[in-house]
């Protein structure tokens, strides 16, 4: 969200995770920003992180003016985040000043101004060459003095003075009952106003941040959840990851060859897979196959076990022939057992982010995501999942989320809400027929890949998951379990019978041919005999003719003519 239509407002990055994304780059540079919130919402931490990140990352020195906490307390507060306030101060990068206000020891006797404060701020700013300043709890000034006319004028002058000095400032204020601040500070700080909130939803504390106003800049107007983590203040923008991550065309195996075949050879690396199904349909079994396959490739896996303990999963999966212990020993498989309700959703997301950073997994399994919600998956949980999926995608991590559906008429309704976030959606369901319950699997969705539309029978064996081709009976119904087995055996028997029959018929034909051939041989022989008989007849005839001719010639010679004139047969 970057302002495109106005002369670009110079932004001062806070370095606070997520905030710079939703504010288009940070706070307005050279201007004061009002940070409002009830006690304990993290105002001081936000302000202090803004100053410290400025030093650490942006080479901008800072001054932190505390109207409430002592520098000692502040140092302790941020030491757990890894910031050493004493070192920054010794290095001349930071000044922390506590302004102690003691209204009970003060009496006003005439005209005054706040030049003392200005002088102290000025000295601190000049001492470190500060570009950033935080006035934490500045509204306490109003409580310390009685002459509000002077105070308002002086506060106004203070804001102008900070601007003139080109300082990017955060002024924190306690939220009033109906106003952003008890003393109307928002009237003086018009450029940028941020509100922090802290509320309890479903018995879980949720912190929210909202940019109420940002003059001259577009900004995200939603309420963004935020957390305090080991790494500090972290705002979780819903869309910070955007959709600009690199996509992979590498396909990875699910560990089940027949399942890979259903999705054109395997799911894409970095894609998100949803496995939904009612209780006991084999969601976790499917998940561990994928884990097993990834570990075999030498890839790190993160398994968030939300309902079962890691040891329990390990033991159960042994029964289907998958040895997860070896991968745990090899350091490839990281189990992380979490009770979903132990902390707020934001904490879970923050924890996930940290684990992903630490482990750099190639595959993350969240089993099941439904454990995040106490009831149905609502918008809050969905948004959290969107951000989780975004996180995985930006890092090219393949993710498998299991989703427990409640069954009945609302079957899969839960999963539908989440399915738009994922690339591949596998549905497992119980198939009940002939007094048996078996499992069926089908691909409900597979983005960017050809996939089978068939329901497969999902069989858990002691050598892992097997997907069986569907068998249809003569009515086109899917046969599963023993019905399928029966059908298969019947078919096999029928095939056996027909094979024997064919064999028999072939033998009969063979015999027929034999007979035929014999007959042909006899006929042939008979024919040969006939031919020979005819030949002999013809020969005899020829000899007879010859002999007769000779006899006639002899007779003529005897009559003395030598020539035959008249032939008179005798």
């Amino acid at each position: 969200m970057i302002d495109k239509f106005l002369p670009r407002l110079d932004k001062c990055p806070t370095g606070i995770a997520g905030f710079d994304d939703i504010s288009g780059g940070g706070l307005p540079r050279g201007r004061p920003t009002l940070l409002s919130g009830y006690a304990g919402t993290g105002k001081s931490l936000f302000a202090l992180e803004f100053i410290l990140h400025g030093i650490e990352r942006y080479q901008e020195h800072g001054v932190f003016i505390s109207f409430e906490e002592s520098p000692k307390d502040l140092a302790v507060n941020v030491a757990s985040l890894g910031f050493d306030l004493a070192r920054y101060q010794a290095d001349g990068q930071l000044r922390v000043i506590q302004i102690e206000l003691e209204p009970q020891a003060l009496i006003e006797a005439g005209e005054f101004d706040l030049d003392g404060l200005f002088i102290r701020l000025g000295a601190a700013i000049d001492a470190v060459g500060a570009k950033r300043i935080a006035l934490d709890g500045a509204e306490n000034l109003f409580a310390a003095f009685t002459d509000m006319r002077i105070l308002r004028a002086e506060f106004h002058r203070l804001m102008r003075w900070l601007k003139e000095r080109g300082l990017t400032a955060i002024i924190t204020t306690e939220r009033g009952k109906d106003a952003l601040s008890r003393h109307g500070l928002e009237e003086y700080i018009a450029d940028c106003v941020i509100a922090l909130d802290h509320r309890i939803e479903r018995e879980l504390a949720t912190r929210r941040l909202r940019i109420v106003k940002y003059r001259g800049s577009a900004h995200g107007s939603n309420e963004y959840p935020f957390v305090f983590e080991k790494q500090g203040f972290s705002v979780m923008p819903i869309t910070s990851a955007g959709l600009s991550y690199a996509v992979s065309s590498e396909q990875v195996s699910s560990g089940i060859a027949s399942l890979d075949a259903m999705v054109a050879g395997g799911v894409y690396r970095g894609s998100s897979i949803l496995v939904s199904g009612t209780s006991g349909t084999g969601k976790s079994s499917l998940a561990v196959h994928m884990v097993d396959a990834a570990c075999r490739r030498g890839e790190h896996c993160l398994y968030l076990a939300m309902e079962e303990s890691p040891d329990q999963i390990e033991r159960n999966m042994k029964s289907i022939g998958i040895d997860l212990a070896q991968w745990r020993r090899a350091g490839l498989l990281n189990f992380h057992a979490v009770r979903p309700t132990a902390s707020g959703l934001e904490m879970h997301l923050a924890m996930l982010t940290r684990l992903v950073d630490e482990i750099s997994p190639k595959l993350v399994v969240v089993d099941p995501i439904t454990a995040f919600a106490t009831g149905a998956i609502d918008e809050t949980v969905k948004l959290m999942l969107v951000r989780a999926v975004d996180l995985f995608k930006t890092k090219g991590i393949t993710s498998l989320l299991t989703c427990l559906t409640s069954g009945g008429t609302a079957e899969e309704a839960t999963a539908v809400g989440v399915s738009s976030l994922v690339d591949v959606w596998l549905t497992l369901r119980n198939l009940e027929a002939a007094g048996e319950r078996t499992r069926g699997l089908y691909v409900s969705k597979a983005r960017g890949m050809a996939h089978s539309n068939q329901v497969r029978e999902f069989i858990l064996t002691n050598a892992g998951v097997r997907l069986e081709d569907v068998v249809l009976d003569e009515h086109g119904r899917i046969l599963t379990g023993s019905a399928r087995q029966f059908h298969e055996e019947l078919t096999r028997a029928e095939q056996k019978v027909s094979a024997a029959d064919q064999e028999r018929r072939r033998a009969a034909l063979e015999r027929k041919r034999h007979v035929l051939e014999e007959k042909v041989a006899v006929l042939h022989a008979e024919f040969e005999d006939d031919v020979r008989a005819l030949d002999a007849e013809l020969e005899r005839e020829a000899l007879r003719v010859q002999a007769s001719g000779r006899a006639l010639g002899d007779m003529a010679t005897q009559r003395g003519s030598g020539q035959t004139t008249q032939h008179t047969p005798r």
């Binding site: 003691e102 003060l106 009496i107 006797a109 005209e111 005054f112 706040l114 003392g116 002088i119």
Partner: protein, 98 residues
């Protein structure tokens, strides 16, 4: 005018100003007037200009200018403003009950 038999309470006062502004000048003259009238012979006044010595503002936690600090007698009391309100100045210095 001091009574040699009784050891008078010594007032150590410090007036913080910032430059020669009308408010500062008014405070200096008002303080002198009040001291002469109510604390004759038993006070010391030190005027500190924070424009010249900004670091001195820390010690007495000075925010408002002018600020009059009663260092002694203890406890420390602060009166802010140009001290044009004599009544309030005396209350602040505990020379007069509230």
């Amino acid at each position: 005018m001091t009574d040699p038999k009784m050891k008078p309470t010594q007032y150590v006062l410090r007036l913080y100003i910032a430059g020669q502004t009308p408010k500062s000048l008014a405070a200096v003259s008002n303080l002198n007037r009040i001291c002469e009238e109510f604390l004759q012979g038993q006070y010391e006044v030190e005027v500190i200009d924070l424009l010249e010595n900004p670091h001195l503002a820390e010690g007495d936690q000075i925010i408002a200018i002018p600020t009059l600090v009663r260092k002694l007698p203890e406890p420390i009391r602060k009166v802010i403003g140009d001290l044009s309100d004599t009544e309030k100045t005396l209350i602040g210095l505990q020379l007069k009950p509230r």
